[in-house]
Symmetry: C2
Subunit: 326 residues, 2 copies
Amino acid sequence: MEERAVIDKIKHRYLHQAEGLLKGIGDDCAVISDSGSLCWLLSSDLLVEDTHFRCSWHDPFLLGRKSVAVNISDIAAMGGTPKFLLTSLVLPGHISEDWLDRWQDGVQSMLTEHSCLLVGGDVSGGKQLVVDIMVIGQMHPDKVVYRSGALHEEDIYVSGNLGSSAAGLALLQNEEYDWSEFSEFIAAHLNPQPQVEIGRFLAENELATSMQDLSDGIATDLSHICTASKITGIIESDCIPMDGKLPQVAAKLSLDPVELAVYGGEDYQLLFTAHPDNREKIQSVAQQTGVQLTKVGTTFAGPPQVFLESNGRRTDISFKGYQHIS
Amino acid sequence: MEERAVIDKIKHRYLHQAEGLLKGIGDDCAVISDSGSLCWLLSSDLLVEDTHFRCSWHDPFLLGRKSVAVNISDIAAMGGTPKFLLTSLVLPGHISEDWLDRWQDGVQSMLTEHSCLLVGGDVSGGKQLVVDIMVIGQMHPDKVVYRSGALHEEDIYVSGNLGSSAAGLALLQNEEYDWSEFSEFIAAHLNPQPQVEIGRFLAENELATSMQDLSDGIATDLSHICTASKITGIIESDCIPMDGKLPQVAAKLSLDPVELAVYGGEDYQLLFTAHPDNREKIQSVAQQTGVQLTKVGTTFAGPPQVFLESNGRRTDISFKGYQHIS
């Protein structure tokens, strides 16, 4: 069974509605609300040793930071503010007290950056290190940006650069290689920064019609938006923002930089759609926040598919790409 | 590192307060609130293969039920109503699609019994089956029953019988033994029932001054209450409620029935304290709900310790007992 097949199976069994539930399975977060003026965003993300990370590459401090970052990124993808965290840890025998201390230092450093609090969790022994984190965010219910809000003839944007994390992973997998001159790619993979500020800004100003974080690569993540919004998305290969050194790293690794950017996962940037009337506003948001926002494509009326346009040729890339390190 | 040492370490690093946080680490649930009239209860519980369960004993349907039950039990322990669930699954190669279907049937059956909804989660491959569930409950913030509310000279109660789950586990561990005549003990271990109704009733009527669920045995779980409430607890051995057949099972297994009841975990009954003036009201709750409620001891002014009184002798049993099947 593939991960997506399992999730689809679960999703189709539990598509129920209930009082207080604004959104169940099928977006970056579930959204719940009581009679208050704000709603709560709920999400959980698993990190499993040798599937999502290797202890030999991943310093415990940076793994602690990343454990929190990938979860906070799901809150950012709805436009919310992360507030509380629950951490569950399965600890095998090779994990020392010192390792755990440094992992917690990393968790705390990312929590502090986002004024977020650890409020609970669980711990158990086991054969393999597993970190499962649940994050709770908050925002105004009218401002939540779902995957399902994109219309046709809209612009498709991404924050930051794509492919850097995938290049970093490829460097780490090439163990004999001295990657000191490309440390920014290693950092992009081991220490990603969730884009909370930009997500909140886009949501509060109602600039994004749909949004999601880039955890599995734009090919797959845009497919989620196109499926939920019932539209076609076309990405222009030439518009994809990349670190200036990505072609050089890709050449060293005999990889294609566009493939790293399109199919590579774990950039934890934001992917969103916006009405073309808002182009100037979006560029002024980019200037105010200092986060690069790049138009990479356009939505069209059509079946829920994603195409990559390159030199006049269109390739169907729906749900192609990243499957973590396993 | 023992599980409790790890939790203590984490707890002492994160004892912060924040707006909207009514209770952080240190109770059955974290409690958060926005401007609404109700608050939310948050808890997560890990079940790890070969630490908390064995696939050879645990039918996937019953494991699905128990995965949810142990989490809902934490909501019951605060007096709340479970509302939403997130499930994270690490699936090793030996888990078939059929197994997963039946596990989900079990999850759904327990959710349906409690009008609770699955709203999210995550799935990953891995070496060992891990189920991590996060449950979100709801209640009135003024009615939440914390571990810290017990005063001295109060009654200590438990719901149901103690030791049945531990006896069931001991029977399962004795693989050559035919336990068909003791199937109720096997059921107590494999298919526990969270005591939501009684917890809610006690909270809404302000009858319990402190409460917690019995997951690690009364010796340990009452120690949590005594530590949080800064009191001494004394349990009277003769008052502990047991299934009428527990002595017979214990004799077959060469175990002491009182030890099973005091140190055995996973009964998922409720443990609570109450003012002696409420004895009649509590017995009328028992009659209305059909759930047996038994006074097993008394609290005293003193250091945070738990004693077992038997034949005029007092033994310190603070934090003694259950460590799951590992």
